[in-house]
């Protein structure tokens, strides 16, 4: 069995699960500055309070899984992204404790609202910047990172950061439009409209820039016959963005689903661009993999546990389905 390929796909799945699940959690934090009412902020937070912890666990699976399966990639990427990773972790600390602290604090609710919003925005921006820097490639020589501490900042990575922040905000808005109603829902729709345009512009810029960053990236998409097979991805994405633009105005449940689909296609495009590199531009996942007996040992666990995890995660979502009532969970 090709354990290396199975694991690179499983890690990719874990990262995608994180991006979408914690994406809408972080998105709600990103939307916080647009809603000043304490009561509504409480509702927004309660829309994710019972599930955010499970969502964030995918981040640990992505990181821990990469450490176990592709240790060289984990080691190189974490070293190259030292500053954005630490900043992201600290942001997640503040934003994570805000879930509990916001409701415990008597006089400082605003402080923890700020921590929640700022933590979410900074964490999302760092993830986006790392995504951009990752696509641009890591400066490696003889298996060691030889770049600088600030290599991850570039115009391209800033564009990616912006794309991720607005993308998460749209996911969050999509989730909330399902979970709340009344004036708050109307307000979210109003915020989501310009976000759709911003996201479309960001996606277009990032996609086109990516194909110019590295001749190999451009070839992957524009060479024949690839272009015929791959053309549906951008075309469907454009179609989805138009549909999203209309759904935002009147639909309740489809906004989240369409945004999710756009994320999926973007992620697929990202994977197609970079495959088989796990540390672009040179290290392929096969060069960075753990020995097969480590990969097969873990695969047993993944085969047993992943379906169970998906099962009880679905159950938790089912228990807390429907609109947030005024009382809230807290």
């Amino acid at each position: 069995m090709d354990y290396q390929l199975i694991w690179v796909l499983l890690i990719a799945f874990a990262v995608f699960a994180y991006v979408t699940l914690d994406g809408f959690d972080l998105g709600i934090g990103i939307l916080f500055p647009f809603e000043k009412k304490q009561e509504n902020r409480g509702k927004m937070m309660n829309a994710i309070a019972p599930i955010w912890d499970g969502n964030e666990t995918w981040l640990v699976l992505g990181g821990g899984g990469l450490y176990a399966t592709f240790p060289e990639a984990y080691s190189l990427l974490m070293t190259a992204f030292y500053i954005p990773v630490i900043v992201m972790l600290l942001a997640l600390v503040f934003r994570g404790v805000a879930f509990e602290f916001r409701f415990k604090s008597r006089d400082h609710t605003n402080h923890w609202d700020f921590a929640f919003a700022a933590g979410s925005i900074i964490a999302a921006a760092m993830q986006g910047a790392m995504l951009g820097a990752f696509i641009e490639g890591i400066n490696i020589k003889d298996g060691h990172f030889i770049g600088g501490a600030f290599d991850w900042i570039s115009p391209f990575s800033i564009f990616c950061a912006s794309a991720v922040v607005v993308g998460y905000a749209l996911l969050g808005a999509g989730w909330l439009i399902m979970k709340v109603d009344g004036p708050l829902q109307g307000k979210l729709r109003a915020i989501a409209k310009p976000a759709v345009i911003w996201m479309a512009a960001n996606l277009a810029v990032v996609s086109l820039m990516t194909t110019y960053l590295n001749p190999a990236y451009g070839d992957r998409w524009f060479s024949t016959p690839n272009i015929y097979y791959l053309a549906p991805i951008p075309i469907v994405t454009v179609g989805l963005m138009f549909w999203l633009w209309h759904a935002v105005k009147r639909r309740e449940k489809t906004v989240f689903g369409i945004t999710l689909s756009v994320f999926f296609l973007s992620y697929l495009g990202f994977g197609i661009t970079l495959f088989p590199h796990i540390v672009p531009p040179v290290i392929s996942f096969r060069d960075a993999a753990s020995p097969d007996n480590s990969l097969s040992f873990m695969l047993v666990g993944a085969v047993i546990f992943l379906p169970v995890i998906l099962g009880y995660t679905a159950y938790a979502y089912y228990v807390f389905r429907g609109k947030i009532d005024d009382a809230g969970y807290h």
Binding site: D53, V60, L61, Y82, V97, S290, L306, I309, Y329
Partner: protein
Amino acid sequence: MLDPEILARVQFAFTMAFHIIFPSLTIGLASFLLVLEAMWLRTGNDTYLSLYKFWIKIFALAFGMGVVSGIVMSYQFGTNWGPFSKLSGPVIGPLMAYEVLSAFFLEAGFLGVMLFGLNKVGPKLHITATAMVAVGTLFSAFWILSANSWMQTPAGYAIETGRIVVESWFDVVFNPSFPYRLAHMVLAAYLTTAFVVAGVGAWHLLRNRENVAARIMFSMAMWLITIFAPLQIIAGDMHGLNTLEHQPAKIAAMEGHFETSKGSTPLILFGWPDMAAGKTKYAVEIPYLGSIILTHTLDGEIRGLNEFAPEDRPNATILFWSFRIMVGLGTLMLLIAVGSLWARHRKTLFDCKWLHRFALIMGPSGFIAILAGWVTTEVGRQPWVIYGIMRTADAGSPVSPVAIAGSLAAFFVAYAIVFGVGTAYILRAMRQDPRHAHIDPHEIYRADHANVVDHIDTPKH
């Protein structure tokens, strides 16, 4: 000027020390909550429900802080210890992956139902959720201690062309020190929680000895301490024998023995191990006791630190004292267990003020003992990061010392704020009268307009 290795070690120790505190409490509290909920469902006595609601608020705060400080740990292996990650990934990585798959998701998946779901799912499913969270905390301890133990006593591997290749996963998971370390740590977590519960119960009893909820929690905690404190001493002793076998330099440093002795080794009660001089100064000794405790014989050999190459010696000054702090607290724990039995025998468990004051002072003792024990075992592993395989000096990432100093400062500030405030909230939750923890939160909300929180709504009987 700034040594990146020292900075990275300080950062790891600092973030780890903060992290270890919260799981120690949540491992024990999850099991305690399960017992409380089971007692409530069995007896129908609402005081157990009040206690459940009282402690779940504290659990939720501690759990949240444990989660966020834990995520930091899972990425710090890579950011600061790249070469270590690259080497150890194929062995320790899978153990951590199993921890995430079997424990973290289980805890996180059912935590929401446990905190917010009683009214939505009913008591039967709710207690299942509580049980899943409790089991998850224990699975988590299993895997992370297996990984930690493997770094102390590696087994089941071969080194091929500079990589570690596993030969037997069973030997990796159940490496020589693992069973002892797991027992020692889980007992420590239970004892830590029992002392926190006892301290809170004692505080409420000192205010009002008729407080029924305080009586129940104090009595339950004292039973736990009475059972677990002696068990912990036995587990600690067995763990010590195991360490003597696999890491003799650590034992020598813990005991302040610089010279090898065969038989009639004294126990150095106090003293100042001087690494430079190669001897323990101002030693206060008890003859023969060292042999008896360390080898369970009168003529066992105990190798002294001077027998090991200077570059292979752990720091005896730190180990000697961290070990004594842990053992001293363990002795006090046994003492309070005996005291509680005496008070129970005289039927004065709820009236005995000195016992309550003693319990109150001992409230945080478990945390201190865990930190001291953790320093003992981890500093005792030095200068190795993986014992005998990789030195700590070779394990650090090539990150500029300025970046590490900056991140270390950021961690100091952030953790001081977050965990300072979190601890304050926990202490405030502890001061609430546990008898009133089941009152409908919305009534309180209307009454004083404070944003009072109750995690689960009052069930309908």
